[in-house]
């Protein structure tokens, strides 16, 4: 079971790029890396998923080095509404190893 480690909290300002790194030293060959966002009193929401190298969508980018022992979620030009908890999730193809860690609480200031 791949355990993930993320910073507990981060602060940023509007318009800045935010990079949140997740460590997963025990990642297995068939594990995917997925990031979720959670606002207070809401369920988590999928942001981005990747296996290796770089993945980009309309919301974020995900950078995964060759050894896959870490991954970095990059949020371009954050706004106040990006204030949320961000979870890094590492799981096997059969999904029953998907476990959420404590997440990173991002606070975006004006």
């Amino acid at each position: 079971l791949a355990k993930t480690t993320q910073p507990i909290s981060m602060d940023s300002y509007e318009g800045q790029e935010v990079n949140i790194t997740c460590s997963h030293n025990n990642i297995a060959t068939n594990d995917y890396i997925t990031w979720y966002q959670q606002f207070p009193s809401q369920g988590p929401r999928f942001i981005i998923q990747g296996y290796k190298t770089k993945v980009t969508n309309e919301v974020a980018s995900l950078f995964i080095p060759a050894d896959r022992k870490s991954s970095t979620l990059s949020l371009p030009r954050v706004s106040l509404s990006d204030t949320a908890v961000y979870y890094c999730l590492v799981g096997a193809l059969n999904n029953n190893d998907m476990r959420f860690g404590a997440g990173t609480r991002l606070t975006v200031k004006p």
Partner: protein, 114 residues
């Protein structure tokens, strides 16, 4: 289309009573998950259903917790003899299949045990 729905949205109960929480996954999704989130804490995995296979119960905190999924669709999480430490938001999620697909979460049920 409709997302994952959960009911009730809020449940207040007395210590020692049994409660049932319901989850309706997205139609066609074969995988269903239950998580628990205590105030200010991360998500805690409880149980996972995949199709007609036996569920992965490895996350259930005690034998007071049980879950079933009827007909591969609706799921019910039952907590017997509730304790105050059971107070939390219980979240249900579903995904299309077992290939590491995205999990879509419901709004959760906020359980308060007095």
């Amino acid at each position: 289309g409709a997302g994952v729905s959960q009911s009730p949205s809020n449940k207040v109960t007395e210590k020692g009573k049994d409660v049932e929480l319901r989850c309706d996954p997205i139609s066609g999704h074969t995988a269903l998950y239950w998580y628990r989130q205590s105030l200010g804490q991360g998500l805690e995995f409880l149980i996972y259903f995949q199709g007609n296979s036996a569920p992965d119960k490895s996350g259930l905190p005690s034998d007071r917790f049980s879950a079933e999924r009827t007909g591969g669709s609706v799921s019910t999480l039952t907590i017997q003899r509730t304790q105050q430490e059971d107070s939390a938001v219980y979240l249900c999620a579903s995904s299309l299949d077992y290939t590491g697909d995205t999990q879509y979460f419901g709004p959760g049920t906020r359980l308060t045990v007095l």
